[in-house]
Amino acid sequence: MSATASAPAAPSFLRRAMNQKRFAFGFVVTLLVVAFAIFAPFFSPYGEQETAGSPYSKAGLFGTDYLGQDVLSRLMHGGQGVLVISVLATLLGMVLGILIGVVAAYAGGWWDEVLMRFNDVLLAFPQILLALVVLTALQNPSAWVIVVLVGASHAPRVARVARGVALGIVSRDFVVAAEALGEKRSRVILAEVLPNMVGPLLAEAGLRLTYSIGLVAALGFLGFAADPGAANWGQMMNENRLGLATQPWAVLAPVLMIAIFTIATNLMADGLAQISQRGED
């Protein structure tokens, strides 16, 4: 029921969004980067861990890296891991955060107070530090550990935003009307409150995705990737930083990819935020 309730609003929102240059540009570039990450491995000149020449040589478009692997091929293979982990982490963070925020706003009183103060404690922890502490304790972190860590570190931030948006909605009369009819609390949240938060939450999701990529890449750079041998944009920067003077492309190429992707997702998020502000009726 909640899906059908929000369905009619979604297409019009997306259409409005596509009319906005900022969003349209960000959206297209994001799609291109995603398409690159998914399809590029099929066209790479070399395999993911195949040596193409001597280390830091000029062979190929972007030269070779510290092990003599082709940088272009590594770049083509290295996107998927980063993007999948980032998207999953963002989803996890959003779901957890929205849950905490909306429940706090809707319940109010003591529940709100306890949830949000606990949330503040989590917020006081630097995002990356929490991830590092756990990762150093684990011997062989698998991909889902990183997803959980990044997602969990997003949750309190999302929760604050979600609570702020929800506070403006739960006091509106249509929510009170649903209460007076005796609707189930879960349905009030799903059918009455959440559909009205779609705009701001989409914008927040875009922003969180940007942070996720940064965080996952940073973890990779610091050496905490799921698979140390596999290509990974963040890890590539770390591996090749010693050769920055002789073979800068080995570092610059992944940096550029991450930069383009974060800028594009940020534009998208900004655009969504603007539309959701304007679109409030």
Binding site: A177, E179, L181, P195
Partner: protein, 601 residues
């Protein structure tokens, strides 16, 4: 657009005052007129009421007297002559000088016009500094005099206050004092008393009218409230869809309204002296760009003929100073103010009590808001809760509806006492007592369609499902005079009146026995209020639904309710049948309310 005006009138441009000639305002994006063909003269010392419903362009006209059009619109034609000088042709520096100094503006919401972090005295002095009026000492003295003129204290203690330390009426009078300080020649007031209680409203209006007359200031009073205009204006201009449709001396307009729109508007206004069968105006006010050809009112007019659809009628002079924009003005006959009068509700009718409230005390946290309130509602009866803001009327209704749970006492429905909050009540009790909210813009979920909104109570209470439910939705929409074409509209596409009808349909969908109506017409235009009230009256008669009707409008009570509870500061000060209370009030407070209520009868 300008029709040939047969009356080459009043070129004798009076000394002082303001003359508006052929004013037009357009949207910037599209060539669409917001208002057009406005001719208006404000004589010195005269108050002209500019009346219209939302969307009529009255505020647009008001602000264009200051040479201002809001973003997205521009003043495209005409002249605004202040002592022979055209305000619209002046360079902007001069316009800035004139605004406030010669043409002053009092906004609808004075609280937003005063700076909350500057003391009142400082603001009054600052205004003069900005204008370079007087010296340092004389400014403070002038500020004190200004406050005295509007009947406010002017001691140091008052001058040191901030805006939030004043009441709504005081803030409005400070705004009035500020407007009068630079000794303007023309005053534009944009609904300055909307949102004030009748007592404060009366005080502000009297102050304003007295000042205008004593200072020889011409004032344009923009409002949607005909009753207010009847009390203060010398002349009245009625606007509809961007044009003045009728213009004349106040007494003429109210005794002999000649435009069908003016008549329809007057028919939809309740009177204090007797009950009326209120009627609304069918349809809705057309937006700029969607206005019909010919006479703008032709699609809603009972007297419309083919010729009304062909050409925009000119303003015809039917009597000295009385102009009407209707080609059939001589054919539509006379109008009688008592046309809609119906007998008052019979005070001696046998009552079968369905809902009773006894010893109700309501709290917000530690604050004790409502004290020991007792009343009851019989089957098929409308009971009104009346009071000024802060009287606790809405609080009581919310407690009865189970929306507010911090109360003690007994609220009994058919003899069974109800639990405090809606959630603790049985589904059957929740179904049979329905609540309708004041603001239809907040009470409908903007993401849901009308069908989903109206259908929900049926599904929830197991009254109907699927196809049956949809059929019932269509049926209900017909009952509240909404076309079934709106079935799949989202609430955001509807006008205020239409939304309120949806809210009523949603309440009806639960097949209630009692409806609690919390100021449900206060956010709506009078013509819409008229149709909503007649809809409720029909429901009461056909379905025998009882209503608890919360309002601040005593005239409305006379027309809709059988019994009334007058509330003051959380206590019932007087109660009884409407006829007795209103014709023969026993309490001082009730008398004060009645005498302060603006009336046209």
């Amino acid at each position: 657009m300008t029709a040939t005006r047969p009356d080459a009138k009043q070129q004798e441009t009076p000394r002082g005052g303001l003359v508006v000639e052929d004013l037009g305002v357009m949207l910037t994006g599209r060539p669409v007129d917001v208002v057009d063909d406005i001719d208006l003269v404000l004589h010195p010392g005269e108050v002209v009421g500019l009346v219209g419903e939302s969307g009529s362009g009255k505020t647009t006209v008001g602000t264009s007297l200051l040479g201002y059009a809001r973003a997205g619109a521009l003043i495209s034609a005409g002249k605004v002559l202040l002592e022979g000088r055209d305000v619209l042709k002046m360079p902007w520096k001069e316009v800035r000088q004139i605004r406030g100094e010669e043409i002053a503006y009092v906004p609808q919401d004075p609280a937003s016009a005063l700076n909350p972090s500057i003391r009142i005295g400082k603001q009054l002095v600052e205004l003069q500094e900005l204008r370079g009026v007087g010296t340092a000492e004389s400014r403070l003295q002038a500020a004190r005099e200004g406050l005295a003129e509007v009947g406010l204290p002017n001691d140091d203690e008052f001058l040191r206050r901030y805006a939030h330390q004043l009441s709504g009426g005081q803030v409005q009078r400070v705004a009035l004092a500020m407007a009068f300080l630079p000794k303007p020649k023309v005053l534009v007031l944009d609904e300055p008393t909307t949102g004030l209680d009748v007592t404060t409203q009366k005080m502000v209006l009297d102050t304003m009218a007295a000042l205008c007359r004593s200072h020889g200031v011409s004032a344009l009073y923009v409002t949607h409230d005909l009753a207010v205009v009847a009390n203060i204006a010398d002349r009245v201009a009625v606007m509809y869809a961007g044009q003045v449709v009728e213009l004349g001396p106040k007494d003429t307009i109210f005794a002999n309204p000649s435009h069908p729109y003016t008549r329809a508007l007057l028919d939809s206004i309740p009177h204090l002296s007797h009950a009326r069968a209120l009627r609304g105006i069918p349809g809705r006010t057309p937006a700029p760009g969607a206005r019909p050809e010919g006479c703008r009112f032709n699609d809603r007019c009972a007297y419309a003929q083919d010729k009304c659809r062909q050409q925009v009628p000119p303003l015809l002079t039917v009597a000295p100073d009385h102009e009407v924009r209707c080609v059939r003005v001589d054919e539509i006959g006379a109008w009688d103010i008592n046309l809609g009068t119906v007998p008052d509700a019979d005070p001696d009718k046998a009552r079968d009590v369905i809902l009773s409230v006894e010893g109700l005390d309501v709290f917000y946290g530690r604050k004790h808001i409502v004290h020991d309130v007792t009343f009851d509602v019989a089957k098929g009866e409308v009971v009104a809760l009346v009071g000024e803001s802060g009287s606790g009327k809405t609080t009581i209704s919310r407690s009865v509806g189970g929306l507010h749970k911090e109360w003690t006492g007994t609220i009994a429905f058919e003899g069974r006492s109800l639990a405090t909050s809606a959630r603790k009540r049985s589904a059957e009790d929740r179904r049979r007592v329905q609540y309708i909210f004041q603001n239809p813009y907040l009470s409908l979920n903007p993401r849901l369609t009308i069908e989903q909104i109206i259908k929900r109570p049926m599904e929830l209470f197991g009254l109907a499902k699927g196809k049956d439910a949809t059929d019932r939705v269509v049926e209900l929409m017909e009952q509240v005079a909404l076309g079934s074409g709106m079935l799949h509209y989202q609430a955001s596409r509807l006008s205020g009146g239409e939304r309120q009808r949806v809210a009523i349909a949603r309440a009806l969908a639960a097949e209630p026995d009692v409806m609690i109506c919390d100021e449900i017409t206060s956010a709506l235009d009078v013509s819409v209020q008229g149709s909503i009230v007649s809809l409720l009256e029909g429901l009461r008669q056909q379905r025998g639904i009882s209503m608890l009707f919360v309002t601040h409008n005593l005239a409305l009570v006379r027309s809709i309710a059988a019994r009334v509870q007058i509330l003051q500061a959380g206590r019932v000060v007087e109660s009884g049948s409407v006829v007795e209370v209103m014709d023969d009030p026993r309490e001082e407070y009730t008398r004060k309310l009645l005498s302060n209520s603006p009336r046209i009868d």
